[in-house]
Amino acid sequence: MRWVDFKDSVKRFWSDYKHQKSGMLGLIFLILLVGLAIAAPFITSPDVPEKWQTGVAWITNPKNAPPSWENYFIKETKATQVEYTIQNMHVEKAVNGTYNVYTLSMTYDMRYDVPPADIVITGLVSNASNPRQNPVVKVDLIRPPEPGVKENALTLLSQIQLPSNGSIQVGPLDQTRSHLLYWLYLNGIIKIPNVPPQMITPETINMFIMGNTTLYQLVAAMDPMRVMFGRITDDNGNPLPVESVISKPQSFKGTYKLVLTITAPKEVALDFTNFKVAFVGRTYGLLGTDQFGRPIALGILWGIRVALAIGIAVAVSSVLIGILIGVTSAYLGGWADEAIQRFTEFMMTLPVLPMLILLSLYFGGRINLKELVFFLVLFGWMGTSKVARSMALQIKEQTYVEAARALGASTGRIVFKHIVPQLLPYAFASIALSVPGAILNEAGLSFLGLTAQNLITWGQMLNAANQNAATINGYWWQVIPPGLAISFVGLIFVLIGVSLDTVLNPKLKRA
């Protein structure tokens, strides 16, 4: 085929294909997906695949949090994720003897019915040579003024060590709890009769509470975050009963101020570049998070790469190999044909998924991307080869092939020059139509936990969801998006494949 002919046939094909509405829709979405797959490292960050499997990277994220937009559909609005970096904080540095004292403050607009799930402080790098030199953090929360409340400011942590690259989860700490209870005591919500006030401190208050069974049970079930962002007095400034403050806290909306005081010896250098304070949301981002706090949306975005890579690699290889085997079989005929056909049938007999499971066990339990593509091709070429053979049998009998043979053309020349080009249209449609199958197989294997863990795939996300009993717990955001993504990519290729089939194979009926 000469270059002009090629250009001409491409032009003719395109003018036909343009009129296939569904095909064009599929093509547009495919281009969009390829764009997203390429852009993923730039939109997010290139180290996402590395971080994906390790829990530490997601410590500031809420676990099993629904998407933020759920707030528009429910009566009770839930706090969304808010993160502060050093740029969003007000920083003051002072010197106290041989210590540097940094005061970092930030304002937080609390306008939700359900306050944040936690406050996490992380990402401070320091070069302390021994644990005693580690920076020490004090955390204060300044609440908006509330009628009848004397103490607006509330210390959450009086002092806690923060090792280099360590993290502090404020909510669950015992220290936070004690300080919170002490603050409730100061404001007259918790009453401890018959004990002189000077005996009650944040350190001792737990002991006194333990003596009162009802109060102790209340406190044991307390969510400290809801209490520190909750109302403690009514509109007239009268203290609310302790039961309602602790077990049914009503959120207290307004502007809060969080102040961190970090004290470190002068010789210890602090690097705040990656320093982060997160008001952990009860909802998160576009698609929520899974049980490890990994954002679902991030997984969906990165999953496009593996899905496309596997789908296209498997489809192209298995169709090309299938066509080559089918055409060779048809062209050779006789015993060779018979042998190839029996081998094809033999391969068709092997059950695909059970064999894939078996082979992945054989290869040490989890198979990587290359092995996966290899196996999917190994079990994926037979259908194409059967069709290609029957089509080649028809073409072989046509006069121009006979003419070529009479002129002394070699087997290779006849196969590649005269038979294979005739099959190319079928090949293109067939490639597009076999992509969904490959993606479904990958998803199935990943769902069973048999693919390598250095990949981010939709199947593995569904596997995580299944381990988390996401369906039974009603975590729909962990179940629906990955499956929808798999189906969507499948649908795109079906649309393209069916349109290609209509345009390219108007006559050649599959026998």
């Binding site: 569904l462 039974i472 499956g483």
Partner: protein, 346 residues
């Protein structure tokens, strides 16, 4: 010169048995390797236990010769002293002749592999074959209907549905069903799907309802679409035009002439569908906690029960070969032109 029908059937059957045997041979080779690792570990464990018992009884640790002797005894017991290929061959013959033996741990309440597969197969038939029959009935009906008026609303809807549903993973659809009907609507109790065993017919029927619905939604579109394409292909043939020209009523043209002529590929599809349903679906059965063939495979896999897995793989291969052969034979019976091709080749 056509081959006689009897001869053709015999030819296909012999062919199928040979292919099946080769498939079992390959799988045996893989499984024998897996079983070797497992059995070697078991021999080690047994000998260590025996050594401990010996030490308790005699007050001294056994000699190295004693240990070697016991190891050799157990290795012989499990045929590990025989060469790999000999064991593969014996395993092939055993599997092929349904002598599947015992599993080490009980699966589905029994050690007997034949029993395990019987139980699982019955449950899979109950679920998947029932669903497949519904799929076939719905799919054929809708396919024929939409072939009558190509381009109609029904026809276009079915084409779109077919494309969409074939891209859905069946097991994911199952998860959605549980999410919708069990968790959000609460029409069915969670315990139906959070545990495998249910008792009583009404509970079994209830448990079946969601998976059957899932399978039907997942597969009927594809069926309808294929039927439609086959029917439309037939409707363009000359004899239909002749029938119409003769004034045969349209209903009779469709259900009498066209459907009859489209029968061979449709019957092939039915056979593939029905026999294929015997294999169940591993992941769908896991999602619904349905104790069928697929679930048995997964249980055997997690328990590392090589014998059960091998027997199941054999069954899956039998199912595929059976449907291929039956389809071929029926096709040849219904459409005698096929046999000429086969005769010309052999």
């Amino acid at each position: 010169m056509g081959m006689s029908f009897g001869k053709y059937v015999a030819y296909r059957l012999v062919n199928a048995v040979i292919i099946l045997f080769l498939a079992v041979l390959l799988m045996s080779a893989l499984f024998t390797k897996l079983a070797t690792i497992q059995l070697e570990a078991q021999v080690q464990d047994t000998v260590v236990q025996e050594a401990r018992a010996y030490a308790q009884q005699h007050g001294i640790a056994p000699t190295q010769e004693w240990l070697d002797e016991r190891t050799a005894y157990w290795r012989h017991y499990y045929h590990l002293d025989e060469p790999y290929w000999k064991r593969t061959w014996e395993y092939t013959i055993q599997t092929f002749t349904f002598q599947w033996g015992q599993s080490i741990q009980p699966v589905f309440g029994t050690h007997d592999v034949v029993e395990q597969i019987k139980t699982a197969l019955l449950r899979t038939i109950l679920l998947f074959t029932t669903a497949e029959i519904i799929v076939i009935l719905v799919g054929l009906g809708l396919g024929v209907k939409s072939a009558q008026k190509p381009g109609s609303l029904l026809d276009r809807t079915i084409s779109i549905l077919a494309m969409v549903t074939t891209s859905l993973p069946m097991w994911w659809l199952g998860m959605l069903m549980i999410l919708l009907f069990v968790v959000y609507l609460g029409w069915l109790p969670i315990t139906l799907y959070s545990q495998t065993a249910v008792t009583g017919w009404s509970n079994i029927l209830k448990k079946m309802s969601l998976p059957v619905l899932t399978i039907v939604i997942n597969l009927f579109g594809g069926w309808a679409w294929t039927t439609r394409n086959i029917m439309i292909g037939t409707m363009q043939e000359d004899f239909i035009m002749v029938a119409r020209a003769k004034g045969v009523p349209e209903r009779k043209v469709i259900y009498g002439h066209a459907l009859k002529a489209s029968a061979p590929p449709i019957i092939t599809m039915i056979i593939f569908g029905l026999i294929g349903s015997l294999g169940g679906a591993i992941i769908t059965e896991i999602v619904f906690n349905w104790p069928g063939m697929g679930r048995l495979y997964w249980n055997a896999l997690t328990l590392n029960e090589v014998r059960t897995m091998m027997a199941l793989n054999y069954m899956f291969a039998v199912i595929t070969v059976l449907s291929m052969v039956l389809a071929d034979i029926l096709y040849a019976y219904l459409d005698p032109r096929i046999r000429i091709g086969a005769a010309a080749r052999s």
